[in-house]
């Protein structure tokens, strides 16, 4: 035992000694020869000076940057042959390719294109097309592409011309041309392509290259595309893929694990590697088309995968990582990150993203539960009694904003003058309930129905119907959300307390995401078997207003198609949404989206309680420069070639 102790002490002492010896920046006495010039004469003398010993400049080798993400991409396979579209994959692809557009600040900026086509400039236009039987046309009534069966007629179709930048090359030196973009379309358009959604291909009549740097997209007659400028496919290397089927591409490891690059970095060059489960090392692409701008700024870019948030933060602090991405950390880490920022250890980023949380009512339950969500005064009272600012302050540390509708205030289509807002007002909420017949008869703190009848629009018939709530029905809801999400747990607990304060009983039920979002008829959300549901939707450049249209209610009768889980229906709202979506004139779009927002937030509508935008959280070491997070650009690595490290130890 004694020997073990002695050994331990000896090892410890060794470490301690080594630590003393290995320190840096310590003060030492050193004799140096200096040359002093005295009144024009050069005199050499020996002096003793105290100097601070700094390490000799060491050749640190290539400049490298380590990006730590929680998850490893499953593949880097092209989307057009079935590669998944995950955030972590995008994060790596940003280093290997440049996108057709970036999507910064609710807008699109061309990267590989000379310009964004527009109707005003004439590179997007409507053309007349002779339509005969058997041709594919878009039917606005069905909302889908159908085979034309009527008499020959003339219809309008959209045509968009894309001008690609010249001078871009693949890493092997082959010029990147319009034909590479067409190759992507051709692969994706095959029945065996494996793309998740076929809609864009279905509404495309043709996509062709007219010369090396021009592609032309033509839509099927009748299809009016509000984001027509997006119909340019990201290029794939035609010279590598020509003649291969999607299945052959999928089964060739080269394309899934080391695709040919035209971005700032390469995964095929010497020194690049993908060690499964561990890391991906990319090296600078010498043929990068922006090399003349001095990009990329680092020589090696390493993606490391750390699923455990504590470990990821530890590695950031310890300098084993330079950047921690948004998939690896959340708002729970905000206090730690703020503290680390104050100590100058890390630089955190908090940005409101495009994911927004909301609580949905149920107007037409898929089972025989009471349909209390049909009562507009109850919905209004619950909106008024929800203390959303407290949710933002306590759960998101005040770093986000309360939402009023399905768009954030910074969205260009947000209509501040039209949206009806409902600041926290529990007294008014209680009064509304009282006046509409919800009173606490038995003194248990929960209100009961007392002669309550509610008017609602039945989405099947689009007619107004009356729903009589049986007297004595308690004002009680079960609120479902996903389990294992701390933020949602906190939010729903605040909501539960808010509702209790006005006499509404809320029972919380947390379900695994797989169950909760499961396909109908099993999954409760889209089979409408719930009272209240808390979850998130995604907004983007296009407003997500059509989530709440009458024809989007998922039901057995329509094969559970659609995402309007609330069963809210208002033909006037539908009309405004359709009008906004079917026009390409920006002023008309804005006016119709404003109308839709106004209708949606009227006191007798409010099918949801919009809560707040979720935060995107990331952090870098202080020496990393060029990092930026944007609300609408999904991955913060969109400009990774511009990132730099100003000093490395």
């Amino acid at each position: 035992m004694r020997k073990v102790l002695v050994l331990f002490v000896a090892v410890f002492a060794l470490f301690a000694l080594a630590a003393c010896g290995g320190g840096e920046g310590q003060t030492v006495v050193q004799t140096v020869v200096v040359t002093e010039i005295v009144e024009g004469e050069t005199v050499e003398k020996v002096v003793e000076k105290v100097v601070t010993a700094t390490p000799e400049p060491v050749d640190t080798g290539p400049k490298e940057l380590i990006v730590c993400m929680a998850q490893e991409p499953d593949t880097l396979l092209y989307d057009v042959v079935g590669g998944t579209n995950a955030l972590v994959k995008t994060a790596v692809l940003h280093a290997l390719t440049d996108p057709v557009y970036t999507g910064l600040s609710y807008d699109y900026q061309p990267v590989l294109l000379e310009k964004r086509p527009s109707l005003e400039d004439g590179d997007a236009e409507f053309i007349d097309v002779e339509v005969t039987e058997g041709m594919m046309v878009y039917d606005p009534e069905q909302g889908d592409v159908v085979t034309y069966t009527g008499e020959p007629t003339t219809m309008q179709a959209m045509r968009v011309t894309f001008k690609w930048k010249e001078g871009i090359t693949w890493e092997d030196g082959t010029p990147l041309t319009a034909y590479d973009s067409v190759m992507a379309y051709e692969l994706g358009n095959r029945p065996d392509s494996g793309v998740p959604s076929r809609f864009t291909y279905d509404v495309t009549a043709s996509y062709e290259a007219t010369d090396d740097y021009t592609t032309v997209w033509t839509g099927v007659p009748g299809w009016v595309d509000s984001t027509y400028w997006l119909n340019a496919w990201g290029p794939v290397p035609r010279h590598e893929l020509e003649g291969l089927t999607p299945d052959e591409i999928r089964n060739d490891e080269k394309f899934a694990r080391s695709p040919l690059s035209f971005g700032g970095f390469s995964l095929r060059a010497e020194g690049a590697e993908w060690v499964a489960g561990d890391h991906i090392t990319l090296v600078k692409n010498p043929n990068y088309w922006r090399a003349s701008e001095g990009l990329p700024k680092v020589d090696r870019l390493i993606y490391k995968f750390i699923p455990d948030t504590n470990q990821l933060l530890a590695q950031l602090l310890a300098g084993q990582c330079d950047v921690g991405t948004q998939d690896g950390m959340g708002v729970d880490q905000a206090p730690f990150l703020i503290n680390a920022e104050q100590e100058g250890l890390l630089k955190p980023y908090f940005v409101t993203g495009t994911v927004w949380e909301h609580i949905d009512f149920q107007l037409d339950p898929g089972d025989d539960r009471p349909a209390l969500g049909r009562c507009a005064p109850v919905r209004l009272a619950m909106v008024l009694a929800t203390d959303r600012q407290t949710m933002v302050d306590e759960v998101l540390f005040g770093r986000s904003k309360v939402l009023n509708v399905w768009l954030p205030e910074e969205h260009p289509m947000y209509a501040a003058d039209s949206v009806n807002t409902y600041p926290f007002d529990p007294e008014r909420a209680a009064q509304i309930l009282e006046e509409s017949g919800w009173v606490d008869n038995d003194g248990d703190g929960i209100r009961e129905a007392n002669g309550v009848s509610c008017e609602w629009v039945n989405w099947r018939t689009k007619e107004v119907e009356t729903y009589q709530v049986p007297d004595g029905t308690p004002l009680k809801f079960v609120l479902n959300t996903t389990s294992g999400n701390k933020m949602r747990e906190q939010v729903t607990q605040i909501f539960q307390q808010n509702m209790k304060d006005i006499g509404i009983d809320i029972e919380l039920e947390y379900l695994p995401a797989g169950v909760y979002f499961g396909d109908p008829p099993d999954g409760p959300l889209f089979s409408r078997k719930y009272d209240l549901a808390e979850f998130a939707w995604l907004t983007g450049v296009e407003p997500p207003g059509d989530l709440y249209t009458c024809d989007g209610v998922p039901d057995e009768s329509n094969g559970w198609a659609g995402l309007n889980n609330t069963a809210y229906c208002n033909p006037e709202y539908d009309q405004a949404v359709r009008a906004a979506q079917s026009t390409l004139i920006r002023e008309e779009q804005a006016a119709n989206w404003a109308k839709a927002q106004e209708i949606f937030t009227r006191e007798d509508q409010l099918p949801i309680i919009p809560l707040f935008q979720r935060l995107k959280v990331a952090a870098t070491r202080p020496e990393v420069v060029g990092f930026n997070m944007d609300p609408t650009e999904n991955s913060e690595l969109y400009n990774v070639e511009e990132w730099d490290i100003v000093s490395q130890q």
């Binding site: 035992m1 470490f15 301690a16 080594a18 630590a19 003393c20 290995g22 320190g23 840096e24 390490p55 640190t60 080798g61 380590i66 490893e72 499953d74 593949t75 396979l77 079935g82 590669g83 998944t84 579209n85 909302g143 494996g194 998740p196 959604s197 076929r198 809609f199 864009t200 899934a256 499964a276 489960g277 890391h279 390493i302 490391k304 750390i306 699923p307 455990d308 504590n310 470990q311 530890a314 590695q315 310890a318 300098g319 084993q320 695994p512 995401a513 797989g514 169950v515 979002f517 499961g518 396909d519 939707w537 995604l538 983007g540 296009e542 059509d546 989530l547 198609a561 995402l563 130890q649």
Partner: protein, 349 residues
């Protein structure tokens, strides 16, 4: 013995078939699946909305539907899977590494897991067996009390918490105190070590043997502590039981030295339960330690399994569970055979 072995192998095969069928059926009964998130992923944007037809098309690509788009019955899919699995073809990953062979994925993590688990097992055995023996022989001594306290501490302490404490102490506090500090995690370094770190002091190049060994210290320490706590307790109680038996008393009565009594007469019998523990560590050596691997970012099989499970990557999960089942059955058989060597009184017929 041969008859016994043949009988056991047949029994084991049956157990494996039943267990794999049960696992397959259970996994398929789990709500969700590889496409569960797609429905809402494209919401709000008609161009990227995924319809039921789209999902069915993708299910066809994964072999869940036949050429006509009809769902393939569960039992048919199971038989197809089993016939391939027997030949070592575990299929391709759906989600963790889309399109990659599952066997490649497993192999890519196996070395790390075996390294960690073997080190932890060896360290634990080297410490736990002598400590257990010493503690039993010197029952109620100071050492015995210290060991008992240590074992309760080791058993009660959550691995993730202890791992974090070690990281804070050895990686951050050591750095603060100017001592050579450890890396917080990983299997190897990806960049040259920072001045002041233990790796820098040892001149460890990224990926070198020294680099690997230094990275191994903290995770194997955490795991060893956990194993040591339990195993030393087993060894102690087993030894105590043997020391009270008649033949040990007889040996002492014969005038044999205490050393011979303990090491020659008592230890061999006391080791029988330990053999079971060690043999049952075999599936663990393959299966890895999920929490330790996660806390220290150790790229092992355990982490792969959890990742595959959370992303509904059933081919990877099935392969992991089936191989684990095989190893458990094999470990059982091996333990029974080893008993005959350790204890000559045991005979199989």
């Amino acid at each position: 013995m041969t008859t016994y072995l043949i009988r056991r192998i047949i029994q084991s095969t049956l157990v494996l078939i039943i267990s794999s069928a049960a696992i397959y059926a259970l996994l398929n009964a789990v709500p969700g699946g590889p496409f569960s998130g797609l429905r809402i992923a494209g919401a709000g944007d008609k161009k990227s909305q995924v319809t039921q037809q789209d999902i069915e098309r993708m299910e066809q690509m994964l072999g869940l539907r036949d050429e006509n788009g009809n769902p393939i019955p569960l039992h048919v899919r199971y038989i197809n899977w089993l016939s391939k699995a027997i030949r070592g073809d575990w299929g391709k990953s759906w989600a963790v590494a889309q399109g990659q062979d599952v066997s490649f994925l497993l192999k890519s993590r196996l070395t790390n897991t075996i390294l960690l688990m073997t080190s932890a097992t060896i360290i634990s055995l080297i410490v736990a067996i002598p400590a257990g023996i010493y503690s039993a022989v010197h029952q109620y001594s100071k050492f015995d009390y210290i060991l008992t306290t240590f074992t309760f501490f080791g058993i009660a302490m959550p691995v993730f918490w202890f791992g974090l404490m070690l990281i804070i102490l050895f990686a951050f506090k050591f750095q603060e105190w100017g001592l050579p500090y450890f890396p917080t995690g990983d299997v190897i370094s990806l960049r040259a070590p920072r001045p002041g770190s233990l790796l820098y002091l040892l001149g460890a190049e990224p990926g070198s043997l020294t680099d690997r060994l230094v990275h191994l210290i903290l995770p194997s320490l955490v795991l060893s502590l956990l194993y040591m706590a339990g195993w030393s307790r087993y060894m102690r109680s087993s030894m105590l039981e043997v020391l009270r038996s008649d033949y040990v008393r007889t040996a002492r009565a014969k005038g044999l030295s205490e050393r011979v009594v303990i090491l020659k007469h008592a230890l061999r019998n006391a080791l029988i339960p330990i053999v079971t523990i060690i043999v049952f560590q075999i599936p663990g050596i393959f299966g890895g330690a999920v929490l330790t691997e996660t806390v220290f970012n150790w790229k092992g099989i355990g982490r792969l399994y959890v990742d595959a499970l959370s992303r509904s990557d059933w081919p990877v999960v099935m392969a992991y569970l089936f191989i684990s089942a095989i190893l458990v059955v094999f470990a059982n058989l091996l333990a029974d055979i080893l008993y005959t060597f350790v204890d000559p009184r045991i005979r199989y017929s």
